[in-house]
């Protein structure tokens, strides 16, 4: 199947997908309840879209297409309330967080759907280990070439999203010392990582995708697990490195950060992206995963070493006029507080672990964060 044509979308529109954890409120382990939740949610009118994910203990929700922060947040709140209400009726807890801190991957059940069964038989235990929870943000692009430009221009900012969203310090019962342990599970897939450096859709379509398809390795864009990938049928690029935050407020803030950043990048005042930018890409990404906001970046063009936190704060300041134009100041203010002092959700979860003395307490705190508007 050849790649479908890139559908032009209204530039700078955004949409958010969240993969959420379904948890048993008794022992705080993951609960295989996706089928039951989908049944109950399917009876009413869900204010958004809700889908099954790879294993029975995950559920994925997505918003409509938005241009404004307040409208996006309002929809996320509605979706959250509907989910919590359904969870209460079924004795199922819902929470964000990139990983479940102590679930055993071999206990997970693959959701009964042909595509998931196929992936499961191909990847084996990797598929079950893929019981991790991410936030995906779509940004609408006016043209296919614009999409590829944004995709590659964003390479330098990618660690920002990892560090700001990181909420998966615990995995399989231990503190991994990573702020985002989730991404380590994603890297295990052969088609993960970065997209090839091609800036023209022509070349991407015929020079890359068609060849890959001929090898039989991939059938559609869905088979690529890239950090950012184009989504031709929506006319968007999709950022996939974020952990699902503990609150929907943070999810909305991250989406608006990306929106403002893309607005700035479309002005093309940064130096154009180059293949060599990717020399430091994996190193920077590791720094963000491992150390979160305390990571050190190497600037791809100047090769200067700079603290990730400083880079985020500087970027937020540069984005001020764009946030003003997009009316998303509140979103960027939240991220400013995170970078300037509050810390990300990974550090919040570590504090909970120290106070509660156990990984179960971590899940308990995550459930409370998701249902209430507490500041995490």
């Amino acid at each position: 199947m050849p790649l479908e044509p890139f559908k032009s979308a209204q530039a700078l529109t955004m949409g958010v997908e969240l993969e959420l954890q379904l948890v048993n409120p008794t022992d705080f382990d993951l609960s295989s309840s996706a089928t039951d939740m989908l049944h109950l949610l399917g009876r009413g009118r869900f204010p958004g879209d809700v889908k099954p994910e790879m294993t029975e203990s995950m559920i994925e929700v997505s918003t409509d297409v938005h241009t404004r922060h307040d409208a996006l947040l309002a929809q996320l709140w509605q979706m959250r309330d509907a989910l919590v209400a359904a969870g209460d009726r079924l004795n199922v807890g819902l929470c964000g967080g990139g990983t479940h801190p102590f679930q055993r991957w071999f206990h997970q059940r693959i959701f009964s759907k042909p595509r998931f069964k196929e992936i499961s038989s191909l990847y084996g235990y990797l598929a079950k280990q893929f019981t991790v929870f991410g936030q995906h943000v779509h940004i609408g692009c006016g043209s296919a070439d614009e999409a590829l430009h944004l995709l590659h221009a964003l390479n330098r900012y990618l660690p920002h999203f990892i560090a700001l969203s990181a909420s998966s310090p615990f995995f399989q019962g231990v503190d991994t010392l990573f702020d985002s342990a989730r991404l380590n599970s994603v890297f295990a897939f052969p088609l993960s990582g970065r997209a090839p450096f091609l800036l023209k859709w022509e070349e991407f379509e015929h020079g890359y995708f068609a060849k890959m398809e001929k090898t039989g390795v991939v059938k559609s864009m869905k088979d690529f697990y890239w950090d950012i990938r184009p989504k031709p049928e929506y006319g968007t690029i999709e950022l996939r490195v974020c952990d699902t935050p503990l609150t929907v407020e943070r999810a909305a803030a991250l989406a608006c950060y990306l929106q403002a950043l893309c607005r700035m990048l479309l002005e093309r005042s940064d130096p154009p992206p180059a293949e060599d930018d990717y020399l430091v890409y994996n190193y920077n990404r590791f720094q963000a995963c491992r150390f979160g906001l305390d990571g050190m970046l190497v600037h791809p063009q100047t090769n200067a070493s700079l603290p990730l936190r400083e880079d985020i704060l500087a970027t937020l300041r540069r984005l001020e006029p764009h946030a003003a134009a997009l009316d998303s100041r509140a979103a960027l203010d939240e991220l400013y507080r995170v970078a300037a002092g509050e810390g990300n959700h990974a550090s919040f979860l570590r504090r909970q672990h120290a106070e509660e003395g156990g990984v179960e307490g971590v899940v308990d705190a995550a459930i409370r964060c998701f249902r209430e508007e507490v500041t995490a």
Binding site: P25, D27, S32, S33, D88, H107
Partner: protein, 396 residues
């Protein structure tokens, strides 16, 4: 010499029976996909005094206390898994429980009367029939690692109907004492006071033990042993005082959970200790059954088992949609509630001090217990499998 040999056989009869039962459990699980507890019960029944005669008479004594401890651990764990907030969030669930229990009581009573059972045994039988054996349900759930709505609801409904069954049972016993001994004090003591005090002692433990754990700190490592010791103490104490160890253990778990000290995964079933005591519990329960008595009540038993299944399934199906699940899962919940044996037998066993030999008197109980010994856990297992809530083999 032969006398010494017989003596020796008597000494090792119980350990031998446990080993045989365990082996049967493993083989039955592997070859016939039987829940292990079904095989334990059958092994106990076959080896019992009334059948093969390997085991000595089991009434009373140390084994009964151990069986009570084993059951106490299971009830504690069940209580710990009950989320009372769920009843508030989903009142239909509470209603399901009440209707399910009431329907069962009524249906079984009507059938027992129709088959000529006198009123008092009929009432006791109906009270017992309300309950779903928490031991069977919890063991099957843990063995299959199932999770989902049928699993959760079966566990909750089992806990609720056991409490309801126990209260009604004690009330009937109180009424019986009143009419036979004529003492109001004794009657109230044997029903109301026993229920309230048992639950009270359990609740007290539920507050004290988590408090102690918090004082000690480092609870993740110690919690299993501490809770196990507490259940041991609670069982011995309530048994000695002639209160209800069953209700006390359930109340203990329930209160401990709502005091929020979290049990970690490893401690499901109380680990290897729980596994061992479960073998003992089901062998014990199987060994209390006597083939000759069971045979006599088989007709009644069949009728009761059928109407009980119908009543439970009807109620859980009726409220399925209203409480947020599919008709199918509602019906499967009813099916999963079939097991009965352990709870009923132990309850009768514990009423021995009343000098009413209820185990023999309550017609049909033996036969029902025997019938459901294998069928009950198997139906629970099938219900969970059909609901798609267990780990499927090809992926395990």
């Amino acid at each position: 010499m032969p006398e010494a040999l017989i003596n020796l056989m008597g000494q090792v009869a119980w350990p031998l029976a446990l080993a045989v039962a365990w082996l049967a459990g493993e083989l039955g699980h592997r070859w016939l996909a039987l829940p292990r507890i079904s095989s334990y019960g059958i092994a106990g029944f076959l080896l019992a005094a009334g059948q093969a005669g390997v085991l000595p008479e089991v009434r009373g004594g140390a084994m009964a206390l151990l069986a009570n401890v084993a059951f106490g651990l299971i009830l504690f764990e069940l209580g710990y898994r009950i989320n009372l907030a769920w009843l508030r969030a989903n009142p239909w669930l509470g209603l399901t429980s009440v209707v399910e229990s009431a329907c069962t009581f009524y249906a079984v009573f009507v059938v027992a009367q129709a088959l000529g059972v006198p009123i008092l045994p009929a009432l006791l039988l109906s009270a017992l029939a309300m309950s779903t054996s928490p031991a069977a349900v919890l063991r099957v759930v843990n063995e299959a690692r199932s999770s989902g709505q049928v699993t959760e609801r079966t566990l909750h409904l089992s806990a609720f109907n056991c409490v309801l069954a126990l209260v009604v049972f004690k009330a009937v016993v109180g009424y019986e004492v009143l009419s036979s001994a004529g003492s109001v004090f004794q009657a109230v003591w044997n029903s109301l006071v026993v229920v309230l005090v048992s639950a009270g002692i359990g609740a007290l433990f539920g507050v004290a033990v988590p408090g102690l754990l918090r004082l000690l700190g480092g609870l993740a490592r110690n919690a299993t042993v501490v809770f196990a010791l507490a259940v041991l103490m609670l069982t011995a104490l309530t048994d000695a005082l002639k209160f209800s160890p069953l209700l006390a253990a359930l109340a203990f778990g329930l209160v401990a959970r709502h005091r929020r000290v979290v049990l970690s995964q490893v401690q499901r079933n109380f680990g290897a200790l729980g596994d061992l005591l479960t073998v003992l519990l089901f062998v014990f329960v199987g060994a209390t059954l006597d083939w000759r008595q069971a045979q006599a009540g088989i007709g009644l038993a069949l009728a009761v088992v059928v109407v009980r299944l119908m009543a439970k399934t009807l109620a859980t199906t009726l409220f399925a949609r209203l409480s947020g699940i599919t008709w199918r899962k509602g019906a499967l919940t009813g099916l999963a509630l079939t097991p009965l044996s352990a709870f009923a037998i132990l309850l009768l066993e514990q009423s021995r001090h009343l000098k009413l030999d209820l185990l023999e008197e309550v017609a049909g109980v033996m036969a029902i217990a025997l019938l459901l010994e294998v069928v009950g856990p198997l139906l629970t297992r099938w219900a969970l499998v059909w609901a798609g809530e267990t780990q499927r083999k090809e992926e395990g």
